[in-house]
Symmetry: C2
Subunit: 108 residues, 2 copies
């Protein structure tokens, strides 16, 4: 599957944008909740640096994962479905070929 | 004042270690309290990245500031006194010349 094969109609772009935002909002809300909980348990300075390391890692990971380029969106969605931040239902309306690719990728 | 002029007796080293630890413990405890408070106010993802930026900056700053080398200890103590993490009383027992230098530096 070459990236250049994939084109997105305007309708698909709207569906993709909405799904992308939904997953991002859900994953970051979950992270916020984790960080608030971890921060409330900080007792010593090592706990503080562990929190900092965790934030550094998660920020880097999120920056890399939420790649909005059309050419990689199929892979991004497959990963988000796999991780539970998105359901295939959220992608309803995309071309059947795209949905089939995403579904196949979630099984890898 | 050349760094090489400064020598520390064993007694002075003990006083310095204790004062150094006291300031570090106080400053990091204050930071822990600030971070816990800020974390409890996180609502959106931008707040999270602000917390991360703050932790990055403060960690870097603390790493640089708490320099335990004998050659720079006079300057470190002056800064800690100036910032309120240490009192001159905590350094009682150091040679009068050192205390005078520290006191003078806190006024700069």
């Amino acid at each position: 599957m070459l990236h250049t094969e994939i084109s997105w109609s305007d309708t698909e772009k709207k569906i993709a944008d909405k799904a992308f935002k939904k997953a991002y909002d859900l994953e970051t809300a979950t992270l916020i909740s984790q960080i608030r909980s971890k921060a409330s348990e900080i007792v010593e300075v090592d706990d503080l640096w562990h929190l900092h390391d965790l934030l550094s890692a998660r920020r880097h990971q999120l920056d890399g994962k939420y790649d909005h380029r059309d050419s990689v969106l199929i892979f991004v969605f497959a990963q988000l479905v796999k991780e539970g931040w998105l359901h295939l239902d959220d992608l309803k309306g995309l071309q059947p070929e795209k949905l089939a690719k995403i579904t196949a990728l979630t099984r890898m």
